[in-house]
């Protein structure tokens, strides 16, 4: 108990802060912060098993997140029949062609010795394949994008419940990670960072511009929900009764009947959105707890021990007969898959998929700040990092505003410096993140909750 005291203390402080936000700002804000904290926690767990367990730098988190989001779209949206009949065959044909190219390249790679001619053959196969695919898919893509472009203009998805996408998102991200891992994992650490960063940008470029698949920058809105809709809740009796019971104290103070009814309506509207957010929190909490149990088990298993051995001394582990390349690939795929789950969760919560919003600062570097600040190699630390950093990221603006008002209290309200500073309050979050990261790296390089390995 005693040795876990700092973990418990850190988490209680964090929960206390969120509850304070609930009391002073509103429970709606508190819960939306809490939900995004949970999603961030899933992302940091993914990054943490790559960086903390195995020492692999993955700066492509944004790409995996976006793929998870894509999975949510492809699973939950109803298929657009017209689009399928307009261009479905072309797209399917192109898909087969892609598979054909991959098989052909594999065949050439296996069959022939390494030589210049082989390289040229492979290049020829790929280039001619791309040209054929362009010719085949072009009319199909144009036809699909012309089907009611204002509302659909894409193939749609499978029309399944969106929850399934969390698993599918993991598979999408894991698949991409497998390909990237095959290409880039042999590189030195900082080189791998750059490579993954750039590859994730390619993924985003594809998602943004292939309108037939993702609607691109036109966004997909109104995705299905695993939770009830606020409007429906506001009309259900049991919910209204529940809200009434909760707020009976406040309602009893109002004597006028019509006023009381109006107040109740207000409470019901507020309550419904809180209730929906609570549903999400419950779902996310389940995911976080399952992942936490699994990652903790893995950390203390022989496999976890081996990963740490590889991280701390690759050559020695290799000499002991551990297959470093294979293990690196495995952990890269696993970590990215977890990030994919988070991406699907994020889109599920928002109910919309906006490819334009995926930016490396928010989805890659911020997650890394979370991992480093929280404590790499320690799952509890990583989750805490997700909570702390996201909380600060959201609350930086109010805090910044307060600080600006405090420091410029002597100035008049119209003073240009004060006006300018108040306008730029939103950017204080960058400053806070940067200084926080620098301070942690300097004075507590292992994070708030450092890695602690006990031999059981």
């Amino acid at each position: 108990m005693r040795k876990n005291l700092n973990v418990i203390a850190a988490y209680s402080i964090m929960m206390g802060l969120i509850i304070l936000v609930g009391i002073f700002q509103s429970w709606n804000i508190a819960l939306s912060i809490f939900n995004l904290c949970l999603i961030s926690a899933v992302m940091t767990m993914g990054a943490n098993i790559q960086w903390g367990y195995a020492g692999l730098i993955n700066f492509g988190i944004m790409g995996f997140t976006a793929l998870g989001g894509l999975a949510a779209v492809l699973i939950s949206v109803n298929p657009v029949q017209e689009a399928w009949s307009a261009g479905g065959t072309n797209i399917l044909l192109s898909l087969f062609l892609i598979i054909g190219i991959i098989l052909a390249v594999r065949f050439v790679l296996k069959r022939y010795q390494k030589s210049k001619i082989r390289n040229y053959i492979i290049a020829a196969i790929i280039i001619s394949g791309i040209i054929i695919i362009r010719l085949v898919s072009e009319p199909g893509i144009e036809a699909i994008e012309e089907v009611n472009p204002a509302r659909t203009g894409f193939l749609g998805g499978l029309g399944l419940p969106i929850i399934f996408s969390w698993i599918v998102g993991a598979f999408f991200a894991g698949g991409l990670a497998f390909v990237i891992g095959k290409v880039a994992l042999g590189l030195r650490a900082d080189y791998l960072a750059i490579a993954t960063l750039l590859i994730s940008e390619i993924v985003i470029a594809i998602i943004k511009h292939e309108d037939w698949l993702t609607r691109g920058v036109k966004n997909v809105i109104g995705l299905k929900r695993p939770a009830p809709y606020e409007v429906n809740l506001q009309e259900t009796d049991w919910f209204i009764n529940l809200v009434e019971k909760f707020n009976s104290g406040k309602l009893a103070l109002i004597s006028d009947l019509s006023e009381r009814q109006a107040a109740l309506n207000q409470f019901v509207i507020e309550g419904s959105s809180v209730f929906v957010k609570l549903c999400y929190s419950g779902l996310f909490l389940v995911v976080v707890i399952i992942l936490l149990i699994l990652t903790q088990k893995a950390l203390y298993s022989p496999w976890g021990r081996m990963m740490r051995a590889i991280r701390d001394n690759e050559e020695a582990a290799n000499a002991m007969g551990k297959n470093v390349v294979k293990q690196h690939l495995l952990i890269f795929v696993l970590g990215s898959a977890i990030v994919g789950i988070a991406g699907a969760m994020l889109v599920t919560q928002d109910g919309l998929f906006t490819p334009g919003s995926y930016r490396p600062l928010r989805y890659t570097f911020l997650i890394w700040v979370m991992v480093i600040v929280g404590g790499s190699g320690n799952n509890f630390g990583a989750i805490l990092g997700g909570f702390v950093v996201w909380f600060l990221w959201i609350e930086a603006a109010p805090i910044g505003l307060y600080l600006v008002n405090l420091t410029t209290a002597g100035l008049e309200d119209t003073h240009f410096l004060k006006v300018h500073l108040i306008e730029s309050v939103p950017y204080f979050r960058f400053l806070m993140m940067g200084i926080g990261l620098l301070l942690i790296m300097r004075y507590r390089p292992k994070g708030i909750l450092p890695e602690k390995i006990e031999i059981k």
Binding site: A195, F365, I372, L431, G434, M441
Partner: protein
């Protein structure tokens, strides 16, 4: 069949813009590669350092404009560059003293330094946005075109016009001067040679009496010059927006790696490789073929290999191919 027109078309839409864009990338790539070669980490704050330098230059430009100082047909920003470099150098030395020095003295692994540079990235980004705001800003003044498309048509009697923006010419000239001075410095002067020695083998360099403090300081000063000039040239040619500068870091990294990281000359050429391949692959060749081919063979489509949306993706794909086949870059850099 009209080869002259086709040639002018390519010059106007591919060669000149790619040369200017490539020069801007090349300066950034040399900046990355110098930091990587001598200070030994991948600097993720590259784009934001460039935007900081540009911001200072813009502030000076505004000041000069307000007191009525100008360079005639040249943009005032050129006058502001030396002052901006001074500020940038001070900023970089402050960052180095308070942030990077500690890790360098502790011989931290490069990964840790790269992480620290992310912290610097956040801070610099915040400073830039707090001071000048996140919006798009143009600070170009003076003569806009060296040759206007219409004038060129009248002069030569061709169908195709050739427009050369003065910013493009300034970019190319300044880049040539800057880069040749830098290579002269690195290859001929004693300090430059000791810098290269330090980059090649730190221990050996220290044994032969090279002062590491001096090397580091000079590296930061050169970095300040490169960051400021590269940023200002990009801003003059296009416009200044902190977010774009942050994004420019990606093709700059690609250029540095393609050229062979740690090798300044490779980085210089890498910038052009990236710029030309981006523009060549995303240009629509329809008009070109209309001039070159007989009328009966005129193409229907745009003859565009990739849509312009994939501009960035092109450079990154080149990077992936280079990584696969020649991890040390086209011009052998450090073995990674």
């Amino acid at each position: 069949m009209d080869f002259l027109n086709a040639l002018i078309l390519l010059l106007n839409y591919i060669f000149v813009p790619a040369l200017a864009y490539g020069s801007q990338l090349a300066i950034g790539a040399i900046f990355v590669t110098l930091i990587y070669g001598i200070l030994r980490f991948a600097n993720f704050a590259t784009g934001d350092m460039m935007s900081f330098g540009t911001m200072v230059a813009i502030l000076f430009t505004w000041y000069f404009q307000s007191i009525g100082l100008s360079l005639g047909f040249l943009p005032t920003a050129l006058l502001a560059i030396p002052f901006a470099i001074l500020f940038m150098g001070i900023y970089m030395l402050i960052i180095d003293k308070f942030v990077f020095k500690y890790y360098r003295l502790n011989k931290s692994p490069p990964v840790q330094l790269a992480m620290v540079s992310i912290g610097v990235m956040f801070v610099t980004q915040a400073v830039v946005r707090i001071i000048i705001g996140p919006s798009d800003r143009r600070f170009f003044d003076g003569e806009k075109f060296l040759i206007k498309a219409n004038e060129f048509k009248e002069m030569t009697g061709l169908n195709e016009g050739l427009a050369i923006k003065s910013t493009q010419v300034i970019t190319i000239i300044v880049t040539l001067i800057l880069v040749s001075t830098l290579f002269w410095f690195l290859n001929k002067t004693k300090t430059g040679k000791s810098m290269r020695a330090y980059s090649d083998n730190e221990d050996l360099a220290l044994l032969s009496g090279i002062d590491p403090k001096k090397i580091v300081m000079i590296t930061w000063m050169i970095a300040a010059i490169l960051a400021t000039i590269g940023g200002v040239l990009y801003g003059l040619d296009k416009s200044f927006k902190p977010f774009t500068y942050f994004n420019n870091m990606l093709p700059i990294f690609a250029a540095a790696i393609v050229g062979g990281i740690g090798n300044p000359f490779g980085a210089f050429l890498g910038g052009y490789v990236i710029a030309f391949s981006e523009i060549l692959l995303t240009y629509a060749y329809k008009k070109f073929f209309m001039y070159v081919l007989p009328e009966s063979m005129e193409p229907d489509g745009l003859i565009q290999l990739l849509s312009t949306d994939y501009k960035f993706a092109v450079s990154f794909s080149i990077l992936v191919i280079v990584l696969l086949y020649r991890p040390s870059g086209i011009f052998k850099g450090k073995i990674l």
